[in-house]
């Protein structure tokens, strides 16, 4: 556990010592801010239109959660899939390219500890990212009264999705010493998981159900609406476990070449 923490802490510090952390954070917050501003502007336009209609009950249909937060976080899933590989691609590919893998693999540290250390290091960075992104709902809380539990489950969905991307991206980063290849692999895997339910209606009932279950979109929707379902949590935990397991196997195989 001590080793896991040592590697995770080193990883988190490395992010902030290289420009990548600041570029990713700035890009992420900028895109999210732009989306937020657009949705909020649209929301206030609706408020203006509805209030001019002077019909009782119309205003009650306007809801900050449904019209701003849920669509914002829903769009952020796509942004996440594009941005997270930038954070995961260096995790092990860089070690291999610079020869520091030789230090890690000749230290009294197991490959599972390395995999978990890397995973937690990147997850801590993700937590920082989402923490900073909480400024947008905070604005809503100050000026309006959105439902806070629903916001929290929405952020939980993004956090779980981000951790899944980290686990799979970590695996991608262990199979190559090229960061570009690792990044493209990670992005490709996540994009495929996002789109995999597209043919669901065409391939028959049972196969369609499988494809739907595999898709990321199926497992973010309810969480972002404020509904925590065990099957969704299990889905993300499965992706994370598979990613860490494959990473550990891949790291172990480095020894046998």
């Amino acid at each position: 556990m001590n080793n896991v923490w040592a590697i995770a802490w080193k990883e988190l510090r490395s992010y902030f010592l290289s420009p990548i952390a600041y570029v990713v954070l700035a890009g992420f917050l900028l895109i999210m801010g732009f989306m937020f501003w657009n949705m909020l502007a649209q929301f206030s336009r609706f408020v203006a239109i509805y209030s001019s209609m002077q019909q009782p009950g119309m205003m009650e249909q306007l809801n900050l959660n449904d019209m701003v937060i849920t669509p914002l976080l829903g769009n952020m899933t796509v942004v996440f899939i594009l941005i997270m590989p930038l954070l995961t691609m260096r995790l092990f590919a860089e070690e291999r390219a610079s020869g520091t893998d030789e230090l890690l693999l000749t230290s009294p540290v197991s490959t599972l500890e390395i995999a978990f250390g890397k995973f937690f290091g990147a997850s801590l960075f993700l937590a920082v990212m989402l923490g900073l992104a909480f400024v947008y709902p905070a604005v809503l809380m100050y000026f309006g009264n959105p439902e806070i539990p629903q916001i929290l489950t929405g952020y939980l969905a993004l956090f779980l999705l981000g951790m899944s991307t980290i686990a799979l991206g970590l695996f991608a980063s262990t199979v190559t010493d090229s960061q570009i290849v690792a990044g493209v692999l990670a992005g490709g895997m996540m994009l495929m998981l996002l789109l995999i339910n597209w043919p669901a209606d065409a391939v028959g009932e049972s196969m369609g159900a499988v494809l739907r279950y595999l898709s990321i979109t199926e497992h973010t929707t309810d969480l972002m609406r404020g509904l925590i379902k065990v099957e969704d949590i299990v889905y993300y935990l499965s992706l994370i476990s598979i990613g860490i397991f494959l990473s550990q196997r891949s790291l172990e195989s480095l020894r046998w070449r």
Binding site: N2, N3, A6, I7, K10, R13, S14, L17, S18, S98, G99, T100, D101, E102, L103, L104, L105, T106, S107, P108, V109, S110, R255, W256, R257
Partner: protein
């Protein structure tokens, strides 16, 4: 499993009572490593005692790095066994890795970290207790004379400093066995002298495997010389008896002759191929049907 349980005390308790010189810290027995069908090393055997500096020599590509990687627990051998500090490098890899300091060919440095934070990290993953870590890092910084740059990013340091940070990394956890792959490369003469002194000092109660191409360094520092050529050990002798009759350079050239001849043959072959592909000679003499295809890389090298 039982064998493991029996073996551990042999390495640790029993030999501790004997004089330091007689304690075998490195026992390599018929080690073979295949990469695909190619044997990088074949039946490599040698030993080193506590307090010894062992010079590990050989032409490039002879299998030095492969042997050192197996001894440091980086990768397992295809067959044969090796024991370091009394532990089997495969069965008790973690115990070995805790007791070995390793300077690989490419210094394993994180460019964005400072020597201080880097060495703290290494000490941590090498299992140095939290309370002892600061002192261990300070000791390594001072031993390699890099304490003046301890808080500058490693990426901004000169090559000599980087090399010494990498050496500090190998000794920060006070290992019983230290494996150094060309430690003085990239250092200026003054720094070379400093590092040699450091290695000499380290060996008083530890075992050092020193791989280098600088032969005077070996005669100066090493108690024992092992020469590997084309994957096989060709010399294992004390430095004194080896250099009694002729100097080390001659010994090296003689025992690695087959390696050198092979290199020359390969070079000559390449030269001939390039010659045949030379367009000017082809004008006078039409090329044969089965003449080797023009090889641009071979042509460039002429």
């Amino acid at each position: 499993m039982l064998a493991c349980l029996v073996r551990i005390p042999v390495g640790n308790r029993f030999f501790h009572n004997q004089s330091v010189e007689e304690r075998l810290m490195i026992e390599v027995d018929r080690l073979t490593k295949f990469y695909g069908n190619h044997a990088a090393i074949r039946d490599v055997s040698f030993t080193a005692e506590a307090g010894q500096i062992l010079g590990f020599l050989g032409p490039n590509g002879a299998g030095k790095t492969t042997t050192m990687r197996i001894l440091t627990g980086y990768m397992p051998a295809s067959s044969g066994t090796a024991r370091v500090a009394g532990y089997d490098v495969f069965e008790e890899s973690r115990d070995v890795r805790q007791r070995v300091g390793y300077l690989p060919e490419n210094p394993p440095l994180y460019r964005e970290m400072t020597p201080f934070s880097y060495l703290s990290f290494v000490a941590q993953i090498k299992g140095v207790e939290r309370g002892d870590r600061r002192a261990a890092v300070q000791r390594a910084l001072e031993a390699t004379a890099i304490d003046d740059v301890a808080s500058q990013p490693i990426g901004t340091l000169s090559r000599g400093y980087k090399q010494r940070v990498a050496i500090a990394q190998a000794i920060v956890h006070d290992p019983e066995v230290i494996v150094l792959d060309e430690p003085t490369i990239g250092l200026d003469p003054k720094q070379v002298i400093g590092i040699r002194k450091l290695i000499k000092g380290l060996a008083s109660d530890r075992t050092v495997i020193l791989s280098t191409h600088i032969l005077p360094e070996v005669t100066q520092l090493c108690d024992k010389v092992v020469i590997i050529s084309r994957g096989e050990i060709v010399v294992e002798e004390t430095t004194d008896s080896l250099t009694a009759a002729e100097d080390l350079e001659h010994v090296f050239l003689r025992v690695t002759a087959s390696d050198v001849v092979a290199d020359e043959e390969a070079a000559a072959e390449q030269y001939e191929t390039a010659d045949a592909a030379d367009p000017e000679t082809e004008v006078a003499d039409p090329p044969e049907e089965d003449a080797p295809a023009p090889d641009s890389s071979a042509g460039d090298e002429r």
